[in-house]
Structures are given as C-alpha cells and as structure tokens.
Symmetry: C2
Subunit: 345 residues, 2 copies
Amino acid sequence: MKKGCAFGTHRVIEPKGKLPQPATKIDNNMDIYDNEILINVQTLNIDSASFTQIKEQAGGDVEKIKEIMKGIVAERGKHQNPVTGSGGMLIGTIEKIGPAMEGKTDLKVGDKIATLVSLSLTPLRIDEILEVRKDIDQVDIKGKAILFESGIYAVLPNDIPENLALSVLDVAGAPAQTAKLVKPGDTVVIIGGTGKSGMLCLYEAKKRAGVTGKVICLGHSEDAMKRVRSANLADIYIQADATNAVEVMEKISEATNGEMADITINNVNVSNTEMGSILATKDDGLVYFFSMATSFTKAALGAEGVGKDVTMIVGNGYTKGHAEISLQILRESETLRKLYEELYA
Amino acid sequence: MKKGCAFGTHRVIEPKGKLPQPATKIDNNMDIYDNEILINVQTLNIDSASFTQIKEQAGGDVEKIKEIMKGIVAERGKHQNPVTGSGGMLIGTIEKIGPAMEGKTDLKVGDKIATLVSLSLTPLRIDEILEVRKDIDQVDIKGKAILFESGIYAVLPNDIPENLALSVLDVAGAPAQTAKLVKPGDTVVIIGGTGKSGMLCLYEAKKRAGVTGKVICLGHSEDAMKRVRSANLADIYIQADATNAVEVMEKISEATNGEMADITINNVNVSNTEMGSILATKDDGLVYFFSMATSFTKAALGAEGVGKDVTMIVGNGYTKGHAEISLQILRESETLRKLYEELYA
C-alpha cells in the first residue's frame, strides 16, 4: 500500500509539489493510501457562494446544475468551483480506514461523519447525482471521497438532527475559541453577537466569564437584538454600527465605566470593523477576528495608529475539540436549540 | 483650554465623527488642546511608496516636489498622500506640552523625538521647505506638528546617530514582539530572517531562547544569508522559497527532527507565505505575521484546511517599550550596528 503525506500532497497532479487546496487537479482514484480514510458520500453541502454561482450559470435548471457539478469534479478531482474557488463540506459513512491511521483516529467503519475540511481540497468521485435541494445548497449523491490524515471531521451525534448539527458545525471554531480564551471575571464584547456564530460565542463567553464577568452583545438589527435579549444570552445589549469606531468606543466605555473589554470577539461579516474592535479593547487586551471580512493591514496599521498594545488573533476555524464544544451547546441550552431550529435548520 | 480626545477625533473636520487617519481633512491650527503636544518639526521621513509617487508626479523636479507636498498639507491638514494613502514619520523638538498630559508622559520641552505614529494622521503645518533629500525620502522643513495623547514616539538617544536610530525605529515592533514571545528553550523560525526587521528578530530570538533553544533563519538570497551567517545571528540557516509551503515544511522538519517550530515569525514582504509559516509550526504553536503582505483569509482558511491548531497573531507595530528594546540591540551588538550602518543608515 502506498504511503501518503498527512496533508495530501501525494494526490496533487497539477501543479506538482503544491498543497491540494491551491492545486488545480488532484487524483480522485479511490484506492486509498496507507493514511487515508475512504468515505461513502451521502450529501454534499456546497458552499453558498459557489452554489449561487452554479445555479446562475445553469439558469436554475436542475439537469444543468448536475452537469456543471460533474464537470467540475471530472476536471479537478474535487468540487472546487473554478469561479469562486470555494468548496463546501460533505456527509457520509466511513467505508475503509488506512492501516497507518490505527491508533491515530477514533473513527470506525460505519461511523457517519461530516467533514469539516473544505471540499476544495477533498478528493471526490461522483457516480450519480440523486437529488438537488436548490434552496438549502445540498446535493445527494452516490460517490466516494477521501479524508486526509490532517483532515478534520465530526462524528454526527445521535441525539441532534442532522441539519441542526450541520448548522452549528459550520461555525464551530468561533464558540470553541471563545471557550478557550475567556476566563472568570473577564469583560467580553461580542461584535456581531446576534448572528449565527455570534450567539454561540455569547453563550460560551457567559458560561466562562461567570457571575463576576460581563458579557456585552453588540449588534445592529433591532429584531435580532430582541431575539438575543429574550434568550438572555448577554449581560448588556448595545445597538451600534460596528463600522463606526468612535461610536463603538464610546458605548463600550459607558457600559464598562471606561475600563473597556478584556476580550473582543469580532463575528460580523462586514468590512471596516477592525478599528471599532481595537478601540473597544483595553491595553494588553485581546481582539479575536473571526470575521472573514477582516483586513490584515487595517488591523495592523490601525492598532499602531492609535498606540494600542492589544494582541490581535487571526480566527482559526479549527481548534481541538471544536465540534464537541459547539454541539454540546445545543444539548445544554434548550433556548438556543429552539432558536437554531427556527433560524438555521 | 479646549479638552481633546486621546485619539484626536476633536481635530477631524471631514467626515465628522471619524478617526484622524481615515479622515480626509483635519484641523492643523497649532493652538494646542489640553492633551496635545506641540512639535517644532525638523525633518519629515516620507513613506517610501508615497515619496516615489510624488517624485514621479513631479518628474523628479525639486520645486515641483515641494509644491505637491505643500498642496497635500494645505488640502488635508496632514501629509497623507491621496494616491497611496500613506504617511511617514517626523523628527522634531518638543515645544509645548498640554497641561492634561502632566504625569502621563516623560517628555520635556526641548526633547528631540521621532514620532512613530503615521504622518497620515498627524496634524502638520509646513511654513517652508528647506531641503529635499530625494535619495533617502527625507525633507527638512520649518513647521509644526501635533502629537495626540495616544500618539507613540521615541526620544532620540545621544549615543546613536540619528539616521541609524531611525532605520531601527522604523521596524521596532518586530524585535520587541519577538522579545516578548520567545521563551528559553523555544525553537524559533524567522521567515525572511535576512531582512531589515528579520535580523533584529533573529538577535532577540537567540537572546531569549538561549542555549537550550534553537533559532532558525530562513531566507532566499544567498548573499544576504552569507551576511547573516557571518554575523552569527542564528543556530541554523535554511535557504528556501517561503512561498513554497511544502519545501519550507520539509526543510524545517529536517532541521528539527520532525518537531517543527514553537514560534514562527514571518517578516517577508511577499505574498503567499502564509501556508509555509503555518506548516513550519507545531500544533499548539504560534505564528506571528509581521509581513504587511499577509492575507487574512489565506491564513485563516489555510490553517483550517490542514487542521492545524496554531495561534496566528496579526503583527502590531506597537508594543510597550518597542523603541527602547530595538535601540538597545544597537548598543549590545557591535556586529549588527556595523551591518545596519552599512546597509540602512
């Protein structure tokens, strides 16, 4: 049996020596290498930007959508949309585990998992497309996929419906990082606290900061704020425009008697919220940027410009135990579970 | 006397409520507010991108350069190049200190300082341009400037020539952050270790990691590597292309017996070095991106894609004591002082 690289470089056909994600073509032959895991695929969850593009290109026609999707996989060996560059995730059942993975993984043949690593780097073969669910970006297929040794995944739990679990796993990194960062007594500001990942962060922040801490939800929409307030997810609720740095600073100053936040977590997928996050935070505090709209240079030069000695962290979608931490929230909080069923499942 | 905001929002004319940096026009009247410091300006160090643009626009003509510079300040109240958006720094002497700053600053009237906050947010008045030194982006003027309460600066030392001090202060954040992060016994990789900030980082890393640590210099140019090697700045020297993530990973793996780095510091101003930095680092390790060419999304999605649980930090040009830490290097290391005199002063 052939020995594979943990990151899957052994599958890269073009250009040689690159990683599977930036590669334009990877090998989707389903004979596994010694450290690979073979998955019998049930459903593809296509990334929303990618699926929107495919639907448009197909003029909404289901047969054309199928054709485009099969074309992408035939061309690249993976479902990476050539226009958007993005992938998605998949659900399937473990079919075979390479011998080199023994003792390195808890997975067993027959386990049902969701891969949390992007389809943009996952070797995939589509034998047949069974159903296209256009409104929720899901496509049922007959086919196989490969999980690399470094590939992250979550075993789907028995006590949480599949769609509900998926909606939480999609943003699992944010609440898990929150859980690891927040200490008892901390003042925590969650910017974009009313959104999908923001609410999970609020829940974890409140749990970890405890009765001596203070958790502040900063949001924009009045309706969403009402929802979060009725779910009692924070200690203080502030309605503000996160792109207005001075407004954010003044409102957080008022809410903290001028002390500002120990930790600010930015979840809002909107540009120009770096300065508000920095100014909401005290010197020696920490800013965690989970928003993909974050500009590296705006954050770096912004902090220097106002002489703020804050540690700024680039959101990493993966941290050990992130799937378990986020699924556990749905078990602990009846309120959040209902909210997520209503809004996202 | 009028009370000012620490960040200088009281000086913003257009658009109201913004911070001085994104503002298009700020008030450069030199009657100070209670928390401001008035500087008698001697020299402007124009940001290199900005000065190149101005020289081109002027066709290299000194009188036209003067005209363009005066025009910018007349229009905006600060020397923020409208094309590049960038500023620079200045050298001058303290002329007046607002009463609200008493006990908040160590500065005295007559101190000679370099401002380390950008000219793109500093209120400036130019009375006369005395000399344009085209080859080193420096312009001597008669004029005044304002330092806000949050503005960072360094008192110029008596024992280090001005130009040499400036060349180090320009990149002071990187070695100071290195000094704070590296602990005895750490394995540290400095990507771009042969450059202006990279060499200072190497020096600090070796000092802090000590005899039980291991400092690895990764560079591209053979000549620069020879220079760093002869100055004995690292324990291990690796020539590699930082944009080739797999090559970087394999070479660092070989140099560390597969253990990889505790801390990787990226100083190389080249795109697509995020993955190499991430793969050079062990799980639970730390990647410090000091390079302004860093892409936030490439770092965030890259780490997730390979399932690496590393903490990634956005380089903050400011940290407490950064000027003192970096100037001290020139006092401690005769070798580095000579190298910097040769290359940058």
